[in-house]
Symmetry: C2
Subunit: 301 residues, 2 copies
């Protein structure tokens, strides 16, 4: 898994930070998470391949998370895209979205498969052989969802020398990869752990923006390697966070501690903080493994 930050500002972009957009690369398939204004230009800038994006996840229908979607769809269309595009977004968006495309004279030739997000529970919204994606409710001024991307456990890897040594027939290999022992013709049992090595641990990435702090949030984030959590405010404006449906850097860090994640990335900083270092410092006091989501930087998970 590789995460690339395309935009990390809050609603008011700055000269250094574009509105929200993340790209997650899982086995060379790209998942776009939020799509603020200018996302397609950031994709060109950071050499993200347009043709590899088949799934777009929209956390909520505020402009700084969705204004870039129309231009991107127009571009897909002009590039001659044929394969379907899956969009996961709050349920009330589908009707608006179709109407907006018509208003802007955009009639894509490819199918857009809209998957509505709703409800108060965490739920699986995408599952294939490599990956499960879950959506969970956040607490914002309008319906808003976080996303959890978890690789599936791969099969065990068979040690090539052992195939030769024990003369293992091809027909037995799939079973061995799944954990079976190998029984020779003479009845000798070769234990699976002597034939295979375990697969790499599945990686998990979670995206939480925009949300105010609520006590159930960490329960959605178990065994997460990298958590991105919004940190709109510092402790100096802690009172504004619940009122506006946002979090402070300290609250983001408390979520990271409670969930037991490995690494915390913070972003979506209010433009009033010219130097995000202040927010980083406040978060690190609570959760030392905190980093600032920097535009154009890729993080291996």
């Amino acid at each position: 898994m590789k995460l690339t930050i395309l935009g990390s500002s809050s609603a008011l972009p700055t000269s250094a930070r574009n509105p929200s957009a993340h790209v997650l690369n899982v086995h060379e398939r790209l998942f776009l998470i939020d799509c603020g204004e200018g996302t397609q230009m950031q994709m060109r800038r950071f050499r993200i391949r347009f043709g590899k994006i088949n799934h777009i996840f929209i956390s909520h229908i505020h402009g700084d998370h969705v204004f870039g979607l129309y231009g991107l769809i127009s571009t897909f269309s002009l590039m001659g895209r044929q394969i379907p595009l899956h969009i996961y977004a709050p349920a009330n968006y589908e009707k608006m979205f179709i109407s907006h495309l018509n208003d802007f004279d955009i009639y894509p030739e490819f199918d857009i498969v809209f998957q509505p997000l709703e409800g108060k529970k965490i739920q699986t919204v995408l599952e294939d052989k490599h990956l499960t994606v879950k959506a969970f409710p956040l607490r914002h001024r309008i319906p808003s969802f976080g996303f959890l991307f978890r690789e599936k456990e791969e099969l065990r890897k068979i040690v090539r020398e052992m195939i030769v040594k024990h003369n293992i027939p091809v027909s037995k290999i799939p079973g061995i990869k799944k954990g079976e022992d190998f029984v020779k013709d003479d009845g000798t049992v070769i234990r699976n752990e002597d034939l295979t090595i375990p697969p790499p641990k599945p990686r998990t990435y979670a995206y939480c923006s925009d949300t105010s702090y609520f006590s159930r949030l960490p329960s959605y984030l178990k065994e997460v390697d990298v958590l991105y959590h919004e940190a709109t405010f510092g402790d100096d404006h802690a009172g504004l966070a619940p009122v506006t449906g946002h979090s402070t850097a300290s609250e983001a860090a408390r979520v990271a501690v409670a969930a037991g994640v490995k690494t915390l990335l913070i972003g979506h900083f209010s433009s009033r903080y010219k130097d995000a270092g202040v927010l980083l410092e406040q978060a690190r006091k609570i959760f030392p493994e905190t980093y600032i989501a920097e535009e154009g930087v890729s993080y291996n998970i």
Copy 2:
């Protein structure tokens, strides 16, 4: 007058060119012409002052000319703007536009004064003491308008030494600035041209995007100093121009010749032209004073 190019791509932005947006500075008042995706980020990049924009002109409702408007209005709102914003756009846009703002949860506190563009004739859409702005119909796939910004003729400038020499009373000065002669108490007539110097010639800027070539277009562009004209295609794709509602660089140049403008800027190049120099060369064969509209560059008119 000073023109700054914020975006000069066609519908498919490239890594070097953003979608359409121009800023015209007339006596330190800024007029935004088209507002493609990313315009507000380009404004920050090129230090255009948000608070000085009170009038936005939208040529037509295709995304590459309008997707940036929503983010810009959201930003105006977050910056606490109070003064009214005037938007000039094709008539069918007003209803859509209001509905889009609501869909995106944007409820500005400042007034948005929408001025519908319609009809088949050139017409004055804004007039104040310094400037007249006219809109004229273009020929595109949907209703589309060009804009003509013309400074008003200033009063003649009185030569300070002459006031002293002829002992001209203050009450006579406004009349002299308008061209009157000065009659002394003894009946001597001092001719106006001996008292004043003429004002600078009024400057004119015209914006034409998107349009295919039509013979009436040059008649809208008389006495234009700088004409921006789209040049989506080169001669190699001349057949595509009328079909898609666009122009070739050669057609843009022919409009410049027929209208007798001083300088032609071309932009809105199809992304198929990696080097716009080819288009420049084709235009210059017909109209030598052609230049490429370069992002972030300002042109004094």
